[in-house]
């Protein structure tokens, strides 16, 4: 697949547009008047402390939770990768990857997707024979085989060891470059955000409190300490970036 020149963002529909999103559990407001737009091919990383509302936002975008106000406009059903791989233990890898895929060539497409994540030879293997990293790669293949316009990643690398996580970062970057969905990655790992994002958002008390657009080609990236400060960590003892 060749990479086309991306048209100006305004010309095509965004992967998702959120306006005035509001969500409350009882009297506790979790998301308050939140606006967000993610273009196709754009990699947005959402940082925030536990309980800041970032997972609630992702679940609302995925259509898994109701919203109390505002609008979410997405062209199609988004694909989701969760923190746990959530593979069906009773189905072979290709059956897992093609779950929900209504196509006669489902096995062929699952095979292609599995090859993309480096597991092309294991179509008929069982999930229980996979390591944590491999299982998460299958979950990634299952999400991408649907050719989503919006890919939602809910801390998908949090349970992996450090080396596996770095390899997964490379893989995700490659796959997103090829398939070009809009991506929203929810994490609390600052380094992960710097490694992957086109745009970093920091969420605090139900709002987007900080936004930074990364300049990839040569320009100085955001300092790790600045991000940590936004998250309320290490302000008195700066760590060298």
């Amino acid at each position: 697949m060749t990479l086309h020149a991306v048209p100006s963002p305004a010309a095509i529909a965004p992967a998702v547009a959120v306006t005035g999103l509001h969500r409350a559990y009882g009297s506790r407001v979790v998301i308050e008047n939140l606006n967000l737009r993610i273009e196709r091919g754009e990699f947005v990383v959402l940082l925030g402390e536990s309980g800041c509302g970032k997972t609630t936002l992702l679940r609302a975008l995925a259509g898994l939770d109701a919203i109390d106000g505002g609008r979410i406009t997405a062209p199609r059903r988004p694909a989701v990768v969760f923190q746990e791989h959530r593979l069906l233990p009773w189905d072979s890898l290709w059956r897992n990857v093609s779950l929900g895929l209504n196509a006669t060539d489902a096995r062929q497409r699952a095979a292609t997707a599995l090859t993309e994540v480096g597991l092309g030879g294991r179509l008929d293997d069982w999930p229980r024979n996979l390591s944590g990293g491999q299982a998460q790669r299958v979950a990634l293949a299952r999400a991408l085989v649907q050719e989503p316009e919006l890919l939602l990643l809910d801390e998908p690398f949090a349970a992996l060891d450090a080396l596996t996580r770095i390899r997964m970062h490379d893989l995700v970057r490659e796959l997103v470059a090829v398939h070009r969905p809009g991506v929203l990655l929810v994490t609390h790992d600052v380094d992960e955000a710097i490694a992957l994002a086109d745009r970093i958002l920091v969420m605090r008390e139900g709002r987007i409190a900080f936004e930074h657009r990364m300049k990839r080609n040569g320009a100085a990236p955001i300092a790790r300490t600045d991000l940590l400060a936004e998250l309320g960590v290490g302000t008195s003892h700066p760590i060298p970036a």
């Binding site: 898994l64 969760f82 746990e84 959530r86 189905d91 779950l99 929900g100 293997d125 999930p127 229980r128």
Partner: protein, 251 residues
């Protein structure tokens, strides 16, 4: 290890045989194993043993099929629908609290001592373990997998077929194994009352004539069929649950 595990039963059998041969065991109390085998051979060649065995197996199969279907259908209904659970689960649990053999006199009043009574009793014993384990299995399906199914765009029927039933299967098969054991117990009791054929009839008939060799034979047959039924259930588990780390040996 396999050899060692067979050592004790074989030694027991030999001691039994020797004691009987030496006349220390009266044949009226416990006949020699060799005598039981000879009786089995005689009854088999005359055809009556196969007749009785066939009659018993037919009752067990019919009762299992009816009780299993009813238990499974009710289990599915209650497993999926909170309304159905509210409506019928309590009644089922109350009936279940009755030891099903205690209902025997009533069953005889209703259905007499014919085939219907025997099949009904087996079905009654089978329905409850299947019902309970089907409901339990459906309820225990990981909600995270259900959520994933929805994210992948599965409709209700596909969700049931791809996620819920496979997830409930280990529990359902456990129910099948319990049900097989109950089916035999029900059959033994049912056949000792007013039967004209079947393994239980054979035992009762032999009691009249103090034929302990035939009685021991029928006990052995019940045991063997029980073992065979359990073997079938285990094979089903191995085949259907090949993916499960606690069963089968997938790869």
């Amino acid at each position: 290890m396999l050899l060692l595990s067979w050592l004790a039963p074989v030694v027991l059998l030999i001691v039994w045989e020797l004691l009987a041969q030496a006349g220390w065991l009266s044949p009226q109390v416990l006949p020699a194993p060799s005598k039981v085998v000879r009786t089995a051979f005689k009854l088999a060649t005359s055809g009556s043993l196969l007749n009785d065995l066939g009659a018993s197996l037919l009752r067990a199969t019919a009762g299992f099929a009816i009780g299993g279907s009813v238990g499974f259908a009710l289990g599915i209904l209650v497993g999926f629908s909170r309304i159905a659970e509210a409506a019928i689960d309590r009644s089922i649990q109350m009936i279940r609290a009755i030891p099903f053999l205690a209902a025997l006199p009533l069953v005889i009043v209703w259905l007499g001592v014919g085939e219907a009574q025997k099949i009904f009793l087996v079905a009654l014993g089978v329905a409850f373990p299947i019902y309970i384990n089907t409901t339990l299995g459906i309820r225990q399906v990981d909600p995270k997998l259900l959520e994933l199914g929805r994210v992948q765009g599965l409709g209700t029927l596909e969700l049931i077929r791809r996620v819920i039933l496979p997830g409930a299967l280990p529990s359902i098969l456990t129910g099948v194994r319990y049900a097989l054991a109950t089916a035999w117990l029900a059959l033994v009791v049912a056949e000792t009352i007013g039967a004209q054929s079947g393994i239980g009839f054979l035992a009762m008939d032999a009691r009249e004539f103090l034929r302990t060799d035939v009685i021991v034979l029928t006990i052995a047959i019940y045991a063997l069929i029980g073992v065979a039924a359990d073997g079938i259930a285990r094979t089903l588990e191995r085949r259907l649950l090949a993916w499960h780390p606690n069963y089968g040996s997938a790869r």
